[in-house]
């Protein structure tokens, strides 16, 4: 069996896999043959993070890869969250024994190629659930109520920026790996990933990096500012739009200061620098306004400190983070689960990368859910933001049709 045949039957099998976009190398990495799977909750989170402080990957395939869900990250900040009616795991990390690099050629790094080939079973039968009408929550009416409540909170200075999430859901059986690559052809986002397990599946074309650590350097690249490519035809025009648009510009400023703050909790004094302020990135339907901010980590920094300082990522929540999370958790009724959590890998305390989980489909309990959020702005109306949300969700909702 050659590498390409192995990959093909692996994708067609029902084995647990994770596929992760490596935007630096412009390829994909597939992880499988998991020897450890850790379901996280608030009681074992710190034990897990402390264990990772001492972990150092030696083999090419070795790492811990997985996600921290939104509810877990809130609990980590001592905040109360809505209870999830279904037992969705609050965070899961996997330790693989096989890594396949998907590029112009396919490379396999594995503990045992023989075991890998033996483990590949035949095609699974996909069951087709025909019911695929998309439901939205909250309704426009409820969204408007929350929106107007938050407007009052902004006027009273209780939050400076707040983002309400909306959930689109339907029932349809998805071929996760196939859909992921289909999506990547149209919308190749730098932080894309997919998780396929027997318990749940995730497809995400996240554009947003939360942080990368290389050595003692940490970099975050928050996105604040979105505009439709229907209205704007070039990157240059998008740049002008963001510069001239007061709302987008001020929102972005706030997030830059917020991220500088979060980095400052774990970095050496005066080491936090704005590397690149407000640059434009182009996607399938939208342009984004992005900044790069870096810092030098404290010596002996712990993973638990990094997670607590940085997660959940502020750009998708609002500002100031703690009080804004409190207001959100009071009004939002649907558990966010993976949405605005973080997915990434950990090879050592000096080598890790985590994103912000947005633009994602979670397939769980026979249900697909897509969340999107947008900010409450005083001179904006609920209906405008409701529309902006739909735009952000569009490339994913296309897959659920």
């Amino acid at each position: 069996m050659n590498n390409s045949a192995i990959l093909k039957s692996l994708l067609a099998s029902d084995k647990d896999i994770i596929i992760y976009r490596n935007s630096e190398k412009n390829n994909f990495e597939l992880y499988t043959d998991f020897i450890e799977k850790i379901n996280l909750n608030i009681n074992n989170l710190h034990k897990f993070l402390n264990k990772l402080d001492k972990f150092k990957a030696k083999k090419k395939y070795d790492c811990y890869i997985g996600f921290f869900g939104y509810e877990l990250l809130c609990k980590n900040l001592n905040l109360t969250v809505n209870k999830d009616k279904h037992a969705f795991p609050e965070g899961v990390f996997f330790r693989p024994q096989t890594k396949i690099v998907i590029d112009s050629k396919i490379d396999i790094f594995t503990k045992s190629k023989l075991d890998l080939i033996k483990s590949l079973k035949s095609l699974k039968n996909s069951k087709n659930i025909s019911k695929n009408k998309i439901k939205v929550s909250p309704s426009v009416e409820n969204y408007e109520k929350i929106f107007n409540k938050f407007k009052k909170n902004i006027k009273a200075g209780e939050t400076y920026q707040i983002k309400i999430a909306q959930k689109y859901s339907n029932k349809k059986d998805l071929d996760i790996a196939k859909l992921f690559f289909q999506l990547m052809k149209k919308n190749l986002s730098p932080e894309s990933f997919c998780i396929r397990t027997k318990e749940f599946n995730v497809i995400s074309c996240s554009p947003e990096n939360l942080f990368k650590v290389k050595g003692n350097k940490i970099v975050t690249s928050p996105i604040a500012g979105t505009v439709s490519r229907k209205k704007i035809k070039s990157t240059k025009q998008a740049r002008q739009f963001f510069e001239n648009n007061q709302k987008e510009d001020k929102e972005h400023n706030m997030i830059v200061d917020l991220e500088r703050n979060d980095l400052s909790r774990i970095t050496k004094p005066s080491s936090v620098k704005i590397q690149k302020l407000k640059f434009v990135q182009k996607y399938q339907y939208i342009y984004h306004n992005v900044s790069d901010i870096s810092g030098t980590l404290h010596e002996n920094v712990k993973l638990s400190q990094i997670v607590k300082a940085m997660m959940p990522g502020g750009s998708v929540i609002g500002c100031p983070k703690i009080n804004t999370l409190k207001l959100l958790n009071k009004e939002e009724k649907e558990p966010r689960r993976i949405y605005t959590g973080s997915f990434g890998y950990f090879r050592s305390i000096k080598d890790m990368r985590f994103n912000i989980i947005i633009r994602s489909i979670l397939n769980f309990n026979n249900n697909n859910e897509v969340f999107v959020a947008s900010g409450v702005i005083l001179d904006s109306t609920a209906k405008n933001e409701y529309h902006e949300n739909f735009l952000k969700a569009k490339s994913l909702l296309d897959l659920l049709k």
């Binding site: 902004i154 006027k155 009273a156 200075g157 209780e158 939050t159 400076y160 920026q161 510009d249 001020k250 929102e251 972005h252 400023n253 706030m254 830059v256 200061d257 917020l258 500088r260 703050n261 979060d262 400052s264 909790r265 004094p269 005066s270 936090v272 704005i274 502020g314 500002c319 100031p320 983070k321 703690i322 009080n323 005083l378």
Partner: protein
């Protein structure tokens, strides 16, 4: 020199902490678990920015009241409003909300620390303001927003107290450190 930064759980507190740390030994404490013994040991108390209004933070108001003649006190944004409130000022909503704005402010001739009639570009995050007229025997408004005339700096002439409504910690304030430096270095 020992500095105590009282954090009102803001997302800008640690930007301020990095600015302050070059002036002495800095400790950051959440507003709800500051011990009086820690306050007593500090030379300078700094009230951080934060969400809401001064009356949401009775413990911080109490610390201000107790230590305002004994320690040097600095307040940023909400911290400015805490000082104003402690001096009998009223904090009210402003018509235009400044979240993430970079604007000009101007000094007047009442400042002990800053040159008269000087303009600075500063970053701002506030929806509330000090209501005027504000009459205080010890405090002077020494900077104002160029656009709205809202109070931007409060300085005490009798005690060692200074509050800034804007954010010297923001990247929108060029040379933010010079504000802190001038406030810390000058004795009353």
């Amino acid at each position: 020199m020992k500095l105590l930064l009282i954090d009102h759980e803001d997302s800008f507190t640690y930007n301020l902490a990095h600015l302050l740390s070059s002036f002495g030994k800095l400790e950051v404490k959440n507003y709800y678990d500051v011990k009086e013994s820690t306050v007593k040991k500090s030379d300078i108390i700094i009230f951080s920015p934060g969400p809401g209004k001064p009356l949401d933070y009775p413990i911080s108001l109490e610390i201000y009241e107790k230590f305002k003649t004994k320690k040097k006190i600095i307040g940023i944004c909400l911290g400015f409003q805490l000082i104003a409130n402690g001096e009998g000022g009223i904090i009210s909503k402003q018509e235009k909300i400044f979240h993430g704005y970079q604007t000009y402010i101007r000094t007047n001739n009442k400042s002990l620390r800053f040159p008269n009639n000087h303009m600075y570009q500063v970053g701002r995050y506030h929806s509330l303001k000090l209501k005027e007229p504000f009459d205080s025997s010890s405090m002077h408004i020494t900077m104002r927003c160029e656009e709205t005339n809202v109070a931007m700096c409060l300085e005490s002439h009798t005690n060692d107290i200074c509050g800034l409504q804007f954010h010297p910690d923001s990247f929108l304030t060029p040379n933010g450190k010079q504000f802190i430096s001038k406030i810390i270095q000058l004795k009353k």
